[in-house]
Assembly symmetry: C2
Homo-oligomer: 497 residues x 2
Amino acid sequence: MYFHLIGNFNTSAPTGQADADVAALVSEANGTLLAKGAPEGKGARILDLRIEDQKIRVEIESDQYVRAHDAILRLRKPLATLLGKKYRIGIRGIEIESYVAKIPSKNPVKAEKIPYVSNMAFDGDDITIEMEIGEPEIRNSIPDRIITLITDKIAAEGYGGKEEHWNLLWESAEKPILSGEDPTPELVKRNWVKHGASRGQWIYGPEATRIFRTFEQIVKKEVLDFLGYQEMIFPKLVTWDVWKKSGHAKGVYPEIYYVCPPKTRDPDFWEEVSDYYKVTHEIPLDLIAEKIDKPIGGLCYAQCPPFWPFLQGKTIADDAFPIQVFDRSGTSHRYESGGIHGIERVDEFHRIEIVWMGTPEHVVEEAERIHERYKYIFEEILELTWRKAWVTPWFMAQEGLTGTTGNEKVGTTDYESFMPYRDDWLEFQNVSVNGDKYPLGFNVKSQSGNELWSGCSGVGLERWASSFFAQKGIDYENWPESFKEIVGELPKGFAFM
Amino acid sequence: MYFHLIGNFNTSAPTGQADADVAALVSEANGTLLAKGAPEGKGARILDLRIEDQKIRVEIESDQYVRAHDAILRLRKPLATLLGKKYRIGIRGIEIESYVAKIPSKNPVKAEKIPYVSNMAFDGDDITIEMEIGEPEIRNSIPDRIITLITDKIAAEGYGGKEEHWNLLWESAEKPILSGEDPTPELVKRNWVKHGASRGQWIYGPEATRIFRTFEQIVKKEVLDFLGYQEMIFPKLVTWDVWKKSGHAKGVYPEIYYVCPPKTRDPDFWEEVSDYYKVTHEIPLDLIAEKIDKPIGGLCYAQCPPFWPFLQGKTIADDAFPIQVFDRSGTSHRYESGGIHGIERVDEFHRIEIVWMGTPEHVVEEAERIHERYKYIFEEILELTWRKAWVTPWFMAQEGLTGTTGNEKVGTTDYESFMPYRDDWLEFQNVSVNGDKYPLGFNVKSQSGNELWSGCSGVGLERWASSFFAQKGIDYENWPESFKEIVGELPKGFAFM
């Protein structure tokens, strides 16, 4: 990486008289102040110094170790001390005339408009970035974030776009496959489910709901009660503030259902809309669009982020650990990227979200305990053909990042079930060790000051049902005895003419 | 009411030759065709007839019995028959030059822009409405809807604005009041609840969640299982289509949380937004607003409407009756009009929604059975001080209408609990007989062809909790034994430093 900056220190009076002192300070800084913390022979260097009336103009080049924008900041204090003490002159601010970074890359990267970037070019070896910044942007880490953004884009190109990491961990024995059909059409035929009015949305009749609730009951007994989890109720409308702290604000935009409140709840403000509808029987969408605010966030996407404000800024008493909670209080919504299909890939879905927090050791061990309990369910109760894979951590995938994380214990295990009707596998739940991401993002501390990690696991009821029906069919009499015992007699649902 | 219309029949050729025949038809129509169906001496009357080249111009006045716009339509067919048979001339369409309605009113009404209304004025006795319409609007009932709209506005003014009807039905004995405090601050202090990141939204810790789930368990056992209800899962994102059929599209706009999907899920389309956030750590709301679609509907408001598409257009087998279902699968959201307060009046809440359908008799009797079961719960388990009132039906209130309905069996009973800390009452749930509104709106029929009615009842868990805590306090040891037995031992929640 290479950085080149031209900037001015604006002073409160002409500094011509300080010429020699300033030159000495600058010459001294090269190799000392501007190399501090960098490996031998690395760092920033002042190439040129000019003193013009009330401006001290410097030209700086650097590598990535002491980036030129950091270098100019490092100069400010000693310069101010020198000018202030001896000459009673103050520094009023730093002005950046030009700032260019070059990052080696084999390919150009996609980027429309990056804030503070006036130009970007690729010459076959480097990406050259021209930035328009000032002192506040430097202090606010803007140039560093731009460099990280471009570096990540280069890395993502290297991984071959946004492909996720996938590594098989374990595979079950093949279990009896009792169906070769796509279950949804049959569920529709039997009136167990009907498509809802919205995209990728289903209404579940009594029989299908009984299956969902049976899954829930199994997870409650075999995982949650077994391991000592407490139920909580997490919110389902998620504001930007939560997604900033959870990291989702980095990349979840294409799949969000956005939520906009009315600009006001004054009925008079809305009467025009009601009147229009009552006369035309059409919804005046343009008029409504004018009367609602910009989105305040969106519908629940990942289920655990809106839990974290409960703990935000808190120090947790040592005897309250481990924290082990779950939520099953509502829907999640995604504008699905892979194409919607039956109840298998939907926009509105139901999930039990399990969250635990404690020391890194506890969090990793707890993930293992949870894995064991799931194994018991899929092997002994549902008798599924399934497997586990180590994948790009869910939070990285949802932030638009690729690869795995630095710590080998941190990451996501996806559970996949075999779908005979399409001879392929369906991701139907996951278990993740999220490291310190959430305690850090939401500023949660332990009384002892020990490092805090967290984990989470999402049980997708639509995905469980799709897996079970695809392998075992929809005929009650064929289902494993162990499952039928828990389901009991199926309710009598709807019969239409 | 008075209507005055000037309109032209446009003909395929000059009709000068048919002058006498047309005049005879018109003169005959007054008192016969234009009075048909109206009381003696009432109806529409053609005041003037002019034939000019390819136009037959009529001036019509009427009362409300055969409105002038209907009158001109009634003329079309006999006129076409006359001109076609004898003169080989066709009618190409009707053009309305001017249309004015006068509706008696003691007051002006509020209305900004009503579609097809070019002017509206109040002279102390009447509201005069000038409409700009054509034949398609008449056929599409636009003028009638405008008249209904204005008539409803006049009626609403008469009721003194949007005030709801309220009539006490029953009041319980006073039960022991063990608290005089607003419960929310104490719940917050004990870490049972914490405010969520959004307006009127709470995160419920283990203790509060246990109370909610205990209420749910009580309703399940004492109402739903007792009376034979089946659980279903209703969708939680509600599209315009559903609200058109349920009637909410008439007036629910001020309180909706609107939902907008992304214009596309193409990551490239959204990269600019992600890049902006990654560099600035600010959400680019204006940019996002450009990249999302107009709202497709909103978050669940009333809980039962999105159930009805399950039955939409269906004829239900006779032996499937009565239909008795419930849903507890997610959150409801209202941009609250009465000011939010603690967990008592919130924007995001949790409700068990109970729906039944059958003959009018069944629906009315079932409402009584449900009332009895609730009474058992509030008297024998929760020991509340509560009362019931007959109120403006919820669906009328939510459509912006006032008063009660035509049928004395159709309507809403609100349950109110006494809130000692503010010496007032809180509506905490309701039971409604909705008449044929939903089966009609969603086109649901019975095999036998019998009339279908439906009912619904919403159990608001936040409201139950507010009622219980306000009367009984938050100290477990003070709670009624009957309730403690069901709650069991409270879970140990969070302890912060």
